[in-house]
Symmetry: C2
Subunit: 264 residues, 2 copies
Amino acid sequence: MKFNEKLRRSVENKSTFLCIGLDPDVGKFSSHFSKNVRGVFDFVKTVINLTVDLVPVYKFNLAFFEVWGGRGWDVLEKLREMIPLETIVIADGKRGDIGNSARFYAKTLLENLDFDAVTLSPYLGRDSIGPFVENEGKGAFVLCVTSNESAMEVQNYGGGEPLYIKVAETVKELNVRENLGLVVGATKPEQLGLLRRKFPELPFLIPGVGAQGGSIKVAVDVCKKGASGIINVSRAILYPETGNIEDIRKKAIYYKNLLKVEKL
Amino acid sequence: MKFNEKLRRSVENKSTFLCIGLDPDVGKFSSHFSKNVRGVFDFVKTVINLTVDLVPVYKFNLAFFEVWGGRGWDVLEKLREMIPLETIVIADGKRGDIGNSARFYAKTLLENLDFDAVTLSPYLGRDSIGPFVENEGKGAFVLCVTSNESAMEVQNYGGGEPLYIKVAETVKELNVRENLGLVVGATKPEQLGLLRRKFPELPFLIPGVGAQGGSIKVAVDVCKKGASGIINVSRAILYPETGNIEDIRKKAIYYKNLLKVEKL
């Protein structure tokens, strides 16, 4: 099955656009977990066990595993294997390279670790995207408009049409196997709406709600139209203020309902 | 010492702009090395032993280590430790992320693995560069004009001034601790010359000579001016056609002389 279709079905089956972002930061752990690579494993395993029936998608943020070196990479591999087949798993590493390097990154993440999709950076042009989307069952979300403060200094560049529109057009061209989407931050509601209108065929991965304060209303509205989408929440679910493990599930249910799919 | 000064001294001490790119691709190994992660370790160790007296800089391409998972990461760590203090080591991972993710990538590469510098992608703006250049002794080379075919579709974007000039201007602004440089491909001699004239204070990391066929003359000319630079050669040194290990050193000497620093 083509990746974008798999994503749409997964979202419909769980009736929510919620994607849980797995960013295990030991500095934010409650006292239940040790602040080392073993604690990272226990923490993420706990989060998965508490939420796996609720959500269609998990996104692993590679930065938080790589920081533990080879052992962190092993933990990433073990945790990924715990997630059932019907749940989509995204490797969020924002890779962007060319030639053999791009092919090796694709092999690592999509074959060896068997992630369903990756996030990619578009600065090197289409050469850096091609190797990740040769298999229609595997997908890629390309950075388009990001949720951070300095995003627009590059992404909005250009005399007429801004760069992010050009990037989205390139992604649309490369989407011949229907396995590409865009990363568009909820902190940029204007661009989010514009991109949905111009690119109804592309699914969006939307960060920036939850702790970053982006517009949930606009994000959900955009996901209900066109090729659907997923809305990432990390910190606001992983680290409940109470420090109680059970509240991770409560927070996930809260966001699941806030981001629910209503059949039209 | 500030990173850019350390780089300049290292280049002068070895009298060459040559940077050897460590891209261990088992598919290209001669029969002396096994085509597994142990072979990767043996191969890179051999290359380092054969060339460490010759060159000022090595660049590790992370894609070729990550593909071996946790063990690949361990091998990267061990190999990095073999390189003496006076030789600069760059982690070429083209990372580009924000907030805590960027901070974790910086901690991984510049602290835990103690690389001297990294390569970065600028699509997310200055938020994705800041965390890597807080320590003046550690540096970052930001992708500006890359050596691949589709590079210009994004990098040349803009009605008036192209995006790559805007990126270079941002890097110049962030270079307050004199620890930033640009990645500029030798396959784009026109842009290389223009960038050197406009940004004499930034060192360049120049890929694209050797197997990719970029202009050696222009690359050397640019490095002789302004804040110096380094010229990366990977395949053309690592995989001599003869398959003889000793020819790795011969090839390195050939490129060392081709890219030699002539005192003005």
